[in-house]
Symmetry: C2
Subunit: 649 residues, 2 copies
DNA sequence: GTGTGGGCATAATGCCGACAA
DNA sequence: TTGTCGGCATTATGCCCACAC
């Protein structure tokens, strides 16, 4: 037996489960584990992608999905690397009678897997280690926000204020740090104990540390290792796509340690554990198809999507009649995995990914093109339940930047000229639903026929790729993305699609008010993006919610508002734009900062209408520039005009 | 596909092969790799034992052996641990026509796998690290022999004599050490660079370091990690023995780092790489049986016997008509893996190990009992080609200590009273030779019927164990073995079997002459073992060769000589017996020394006949006491009387 | 607000002969 | 011959402030 744990308990499986909140803090905000007892669809295809190597199934008839009930979810962490993973025990839900009820149950509920309904996000804070933090200098510069909201209260009356803080890691081991508030200007530091921690965990600059205050008050500490570059890294081909094999996706491996994990058995290493063994996948599928309970291991930081997906999510997604041309957005973790970015895209075709083995599978059903193709060039196929349609929202897709006619005529899309009206290959033929016939299957979708489908050049040869959940997985070596509008911000209308309306935005940068002090009045100098091609239609996300700060409704959005999208799990380095007044200056500044930074927070983003009047909405939002895209995701409602009442901050 | 490398080249398999001499120095003197192009038998059973976990074969019909030709042998080393392993590429030799020639070829040749015929053993030296060597003190005490024969010549005219030595490790990485000759009294030391090496390689006291002077003059350095104790370690059951499962053999794992390697995929770690993945075994067998070339990985320091065995060896072994009662000796590596010890045993039964799956397999065909059962209690079944018969040598087995009648009536053996004349189970039934019928199979052996077989108590329940090649694998925690003859060396004849003749031996200990200086005249005081039960029949090995010093014929052995068996790869700590003159004193001395030593060299062993006259044979042989057995293996020819001409040293 | 570098106190490392086994 | 110990020189660590950005 190939180390597969079946229903018999293995006595030595005494690994400890860790606090689910710490686990989630380490896993990242993208990860939502299915609750115990909830219904999920288990996708063998996705499980196979999650494996360390290509999985070869012996059986020819493997269902594309297996409806299951979650028996247990164990939150685990790798003993060596602290890498978090989950052990999910599933029991297949069999019988056609149960099937309908299976689909209907549990939709809409939003419990997390620790059983809490709508529990408050615990106070956690992540920081990417700087050179100084990771150096042998031995100190850690604690961002004020972290020290004041996560760490135990410090008695500032002492001189200097010092305390010893204890933090439990994922294994329950306690680490002791000296927390001191000193220096001019005053700042929070961890000194004694820090370098021991860094050495023991083998942290380097770029890795992230997560501090979390658990509900019982305990301070916890987790780590998220940076995804090192792809140079010399492993190449992974899909195997399950008959036409595939030479389309390579860099995934987050620790390439500096990578060596061959071929037949030697000497391959693989302790730093490279974000994959499961192929044999386990085969075994899991065997059990799943024979109705036996089984266990899967899921590494949330592996660059493959979850393969145990909440049933309601899948069901809802498959009730949509997906068709090419549809506009959607999809969340990704930012490269430094501290925040989430939404990317806009268009469905180019709807076809099963592997029509030979899984002709009825919704897995990676959607072939997409991105508004920012450079960044997501390796993400070609996505799961329907991971995207959020935006084009079908009536009030939204009528924005002046995306006239409705474009939805129906995607071939006019400026990025995709009328070159490729290729008929859909025959692969998209009849569906075989293994669990009941086509009418009783859980998914009501039908593959479209005779559609105008975009076939980007890269689709030739039916190549297939994995896709990642994190930007750093997708394009690790992307530099500062060549700016298509470097030329002439003095002639803003040049090279602009006719239907793109000018958009202006003021980024007024001041002091963040996460500090307990009263914020200073921002030096509200203006940086005008007006007319810059960066705000072409493709670069403007058109809807979204402002996470962490409140809901749309709280922000008193009005017609014509532009707002900078933001997601703030922690606070990165701030770029003060107050002294800038040209786009070139901004670019130079950013390029310089991005030598050391992965992302930059634009604090106190403010909104500006076309008249140039300052308007501020909400309380201390953060804008975000990502290194790779130099992208400013703009959320806007879409009635067309930018004339909004001037509101000063 | 489960990471199995088939005939297609994997482009990223760019792992470097290392110098075969360094590889062999690290692998230990027991390991003899089959030469390229030679014929071997591949034993799936043995390969399965070599796996990290129990291997479950899907096929019901797996041949017990597959004749193969060695295509390539790559000498590799683990990137993390420096553990050496070999990648052996085999191509099955199929076709019954070829079969006869396969058997007949290549027997008798003794080429090593690097293609050299009878190449001189390269100068290498192994030392087990002391506490001081491994401590952070930062220095390494270089044994004089090593410094003078392995290291580059040191200029003694300088004061102090210093040089920088460069040593390449198994990966070709060069390490720099400062070699100095200083202190009072003068000694060789490695200082600067040593602690870096120790830290980087994570060496601890008990690990061994191997220095080797390659043929091109380069100095090389390898490591052999100590087999840490069994406490908390993994238990491994055989799986392939239907009745087995609860007989546990400690094998050399780094138990202090061990964790579960169950379904999580998070198990296993970089320090625990002396096993191959079960899936690879399955794949290898699949290829082997379908006639395709395949590759196996062999870890010489794993505690399982080689499963690619030189064809001539197997063939020769299987031409012997094995039967219970036969006496044999078998080599094992000493606990500190610096030398080889031969152990004596008796075949208790001849029966296939797994009659269900491999009814015709010679693998572990011999069930044995040992003269020193305490030490080898877990070694119950051995491969015929690994033992050397001693009872069939006519002049030998007639020794006064082993009268010939005992061979035929082993039940009279003092250790095995007439308790267990159990008939052989039906398992030993007809053989199925998959490769040709019973008459065309490569092995002419027949399983014996109706024999008087010893069934030691431990055999009840048909338990099965692995066996190890190294003493430390077999009984890691054995202390100083209780001495059966502690009582009365003043009454030498007490408790002695009637047929045991007194044997005397003088151990005359002086200065070893590995130094370049002229050896001092040994203080040849005498230690008389005469009449001690330590020399009962079971404790006397009866034949053998003196490795490293010359062959039997070179030693001018004469009738009645006793000689102390020895094998010296390096020089351990010396016990000066010159001041001892009682057995008790020796025992006390040994017990004391064994608190820190694993084995003790008895330098300048000399031979003594029954008259008490000194006789010295050969040039500076070394005697050996092993910690666990307090055993003095005595080789003797066996015409019965000990009256030999007195020859002084 | 926080990253980085230099100064400096302190701790760890590692080289040494002295002993002893 | 070589393992271990205490002494002591040298190096490394890590805490601190000053000064950016």
């Amino acid at each position: 037996m190939i180390t597969f744990m079946d229903s018999k308990e293995k006595p030595q499986d005494t690994e400890r489960c860790l606090d689910s909140q710490l686990w989630h803090a380490c896993a990242g905000s993208m990860i939502q584990m299915p609750p115990v007892n909830s219904k999920v669809y288990y996708f063998p295809q996705g499980h196979a992608e999650h494996a360390a190597d290509v999985v070869e199934f012996r059986d020819r008839r493997i269902p594309a999905w297996v409806p299951c009930r979650v028996v247990t979810v164990k939150f685990m962490a790798d003993v060596d690397t602290d890498e978090v993973y989950a052990r999910i025990r599933l029991v297949p839900v069999t019988g056609s009678g149960e099937f309908g009820s299976f689909e209907d149950e549990d939709s809409g509920l939003n419990r997390s897997s620790d059983g809490q309904v709508g529990s408050v996000k615990p106070t956690s804070f992540a920081k990417t280690l700087t050179q100084s933090d990771a150096n042998n200098g031995g100190g850690f510069s604690v961002p004020r926000y972290c020290a004041e909201t996560i760490f135990p209260r410090l008695d500032y009356s002492a001189d200097p204020p010092v305390q010893t803080i204890l933090a439990k890691d994922v294994h329950g081991e306690t680490w002791k740090f000296r927390h001191i508030y000193r220096g001019t200007p005053r700042r929070h530091l961890l000194t004694t104990g820090w370098s021991t921690f860094v050495n023991h965990k083998k942290l380097v600059a770029g890795d992230s540390i997560v501090f979390l205050r658990a509900e019982n008050g305990d301070l916890c500490v987790g780590i998220r290792r940076a995804k090192r570059g792809i140079g010399g890294g492993q190449e992974t081909t899909s195997g399950w796509n008959p036409g595939g094999g030479n389309c390579v996706v860099p995934y987050g491996g620790y390439s500096s340690f990578i060596r061959n994990s071929n037949s030697g058995g000497a391959g693989g290493n302790s730093m490279e554990k974000v994959k499961v063994e192929p044999g386990l996948v085969v075994q899991a599928v065997k059990h799943a198809t024979s109705g036996q309970a089984f266990e899967v291991v899921f590494y949330p930081r592996a660059s493959t999507p979850e393969f145990c997906v909440k049933a309601s999510l899948v069901k809802n997604a498959m009730q949509i009649r997906w068709s090419p041309g549809m506009r959607f957005k999809m969340p990704f973790e930012t490269e430094d995995s501290s925040r989430i970015s939404w990317f806009m895209g268009t469905i180019s075709s709807v076809q099963v990914a592997d029509p030979i083995r899984w002709p009825d599978s919704p897995w990676r059903l959607l072939q997409v093109t991105w508004d920012e193709p450079d960044l997501l060039q390796n993400v070609k196929r996505v799961n329907p339940w991971l995207v959020e349609l935006v084009s079908t929202m009536p009030a939204i897709h009528m924005s002046p930047f995306s006239p409705p006619r474009k939805k129906c005529r995607p071939s006019q899309h400026p990025d995709y000229p009328m070159e490729s009206q290729i008929p859909i290959p025959a692969l998209c033929g009849p569906h075989v639903h293994l669990f009941g016939g086509p009418t009783t299957g859980p998914f009501g979708y039908q593959l479209p026929e005779n559609l105008n489908v975009h076939h980007p050049a890269s689709m030739q040869g039916a190549r297939h790729t994995r896709y990642g959940l994190s930007l750093s997985d997708i394009q690790l070596n992307s530099g500062f993305y060549p700016n298509p509008m470097k030329h002439s911000h003095s002639s803003p209308s040049v090279n602009k699609p006719a239907q793109s309306e000018p958009v202006s935005c003021l980024l007024s940068i001041g002091n963040a008010t996460t500090s307990s002090k009263e914020p200073e009045t921002p030096k509200a100098s203006r940086f005008v993006l007006f007319g810059q091609p960066i705000l072409t239609e493709q670069q403007i996300s058109q809807t979204g919610s402002v996470s962490g700060l409140g809901r749309e409704s709280d922000l008193n959005l009005e017609t014509g508002h532009c707002k900078v999208f933001m997601e703030s799990e922690d606070v990165g380095r701030t770029l003060d734009l107050s002294l800038l007044d040209s786009y070139e200056e901004l670019c130079g500044k950013l390029a310089n900062m991005f030598k050391t930074e992965n992302s930059i927070m634009l604090n106190r983003v403010q909104y500006w209408d076309a008249t140039g009047t300052l308007k501020r909405i909400g309380d201390e939002p953060f804008g975000e520039f990502t290194k790779t895209a130099r992208r400013l995701t703009i959320l806007t409602d879409s009635t067309g005009d930018n004339n909004v009442p001037a509101v000063d901050s």
